[in-house]
Amino acid sequence: MKPRYALFGALAAIIAASSLAQTKPVEPPGGKYAKEAEQVFRSSFRVDNPKYWMSRLEQDETMRLCAQYRDNPPRKIGTQLEKANLATIRYPVEGKLIGEWKEGEKLAAVGTGGHIGFIQPDPPGRLRGGNCYACHQLAQKEVAYGTIGPSLQHYGKTRGNSDEIVKYTYDKIYNSNAFTACTNMPRFGLHSWLTPEQITHIVAFLLDPESPVNKD
């Protein structure tokens, strides 16, 4: 072998080894006890729980794989999940993706709804909001915002409201995993947590130039 090729071969080997080291899979949570752990988790609930409560423990493919990879899946699996989630998105019957920003403003602030159990359940029919402020900065006047997600202040001001942006915004709220597999953000539309119409209101809150997200 010519020295030049030998050098190339050695370099290639080093690169291969280092990239191998990088992609060395992280141990799934629970390790060899993962199966038993699932049993322990499921058997820890009251047997007289209503069936629909227990359905909240079910995992779809996205939840299962995200947990397995500690929310950091290899790109190949991430791409598959994103494709599958993109295919779930449904639109309002009338097709209009921008609703009323004032309605969206209310929904963004509501963090209640959907709690079950015997200790402190929400009354049936309690409004479920997007709870956007739990994780995002939005209107300037609201200082009690969380930082788990990026700031969305001036969301529309910086992005404009082209058809692409409107659709992306709707799609992202409907199913966040269509763009980033295993993101922390819930899939509001997929789980029918918010209706398509409610999502259009939040889209308006984010994009309307008159909305406090953009005006202040």
């Binding site: 993962a34 423990l57 947990a67 500690r70 079950i116």
Partner: protein
């Protein structure tokens, strides 16, 4: 006692004044919250519960008219100093990994002759209905104040429980796609104004674990770790696990193992 009560009332009044001032500039919010906690810590209502727990521990009660003074929380019968800080752990007599609450209940059943359903019926307090378990756990916890958390999980059963806890920590489900890791897997994040600990690091888990049991101002009650974690499940919009369920003990084992080395500051006081 009266002095403690006055301190408590004063503390709550000062806290009320501080929380009114929170709506300041965002950059000051964290500072304000720190001041608020400081003000609260000056008169922790949990101190009163601790006194009650001490009396309950020594009182002869139950069908066997026995006290809990011979209860073995892992360091030997009656040894309370640092006992909370080394739980959960494996107990050979029950062949189970037990946390402070399951072990306490075990003692109330085996030493005092109570029925488990009976002693756990009021496992957390409600307005006007105090909980003996809360008082006892507050007392036991305080006996570990200043002691480092020490749950190395070296016994195979403890190792297994820590791994089961890790599994549950990352497990996503429910209508919000939640897991514990969503909020507690990163450094330096907030939900609304509440700072979130990264429970996967020793620092974060230590910050979280060292102050329990803790008086929750928003709830007007002392919460035990079981109560805290069961409520996390509620917040995640899942059903509530049973009191003393293995899934909760597993999470505690995972968290205490991660927090090991952190010095306890209990009873704590929180939002």
């Amino acid at each position: 006692m009266i002095q403690a009560l006055i301190r408590t009332v004063l503390g709550v009044v000062v806290a009320g004044a501080c929380i009114g001032g929170v709506a300041a500039q965002d950059s000051k919010v964290a500072d304000e919250l720190a001041k608020y906690r400081e003000a609260l810590a000056d008169g922790n209502p949990a101190d009163l519960l601790e006194v009650k727990g001490e009396a309950l521990w020594a009182e002869k009660r139950g069908p066997r008219n026995a006290s809990l003074e011979q209860c073995d929380l892992g360091l030997g019968p009656g040894k309370l100093e640092g006992a909370y800080a080394q739980l959960p752990r494996y107990f050979a007599d029950t062949r189970k990994v037990m946390d402070v609450e399951s072990r306490l209940v075990h003692c109330m059943v085996t030493l005092q002759g109570f029925k488990q359903e009976e002693v756990t019926r009021q496992w957390f307090s409600k307005p006007g209905k105090e909980s003996d378990i809360e008082a006892l756990v507050t007392f036991i916890g305080a006996k570990s104040n200043g002691k480092p958390i020490n749950v190395p999980a070296t016994h195979p059963e403890e190792q297994k429980m820590a791994k089961i806890g890790e599994y549950i920590f990352y497990r996503r489900s429910g209508p919000q796609d939640f897991s514990c890791a969503i909020c507690h897997g990163q450094d330096g994040k907030r939900i609304r104004l509440q700072e979130l600990g990264n429970l996967t690091t020793r620092e974060g888990a230590g910050m979280a674990m060292k102050t329990w049991p803790s008086y929750r101002v928003s709830q007007g009650a002392v919460w035990t770790m079981q109560r805290r974690l069961i409520d996390c499940m509620r917040q995640a919009r899942w059903p509530e696990p049973n009191y003393l369920a293995d899934s909760i003990i597993a999470l505690e084992t995972f968290l205490q193992k991660t927090a090991t080395g952190t010095v306890m500051e209990t009873p704590g006081i929180k939002r």
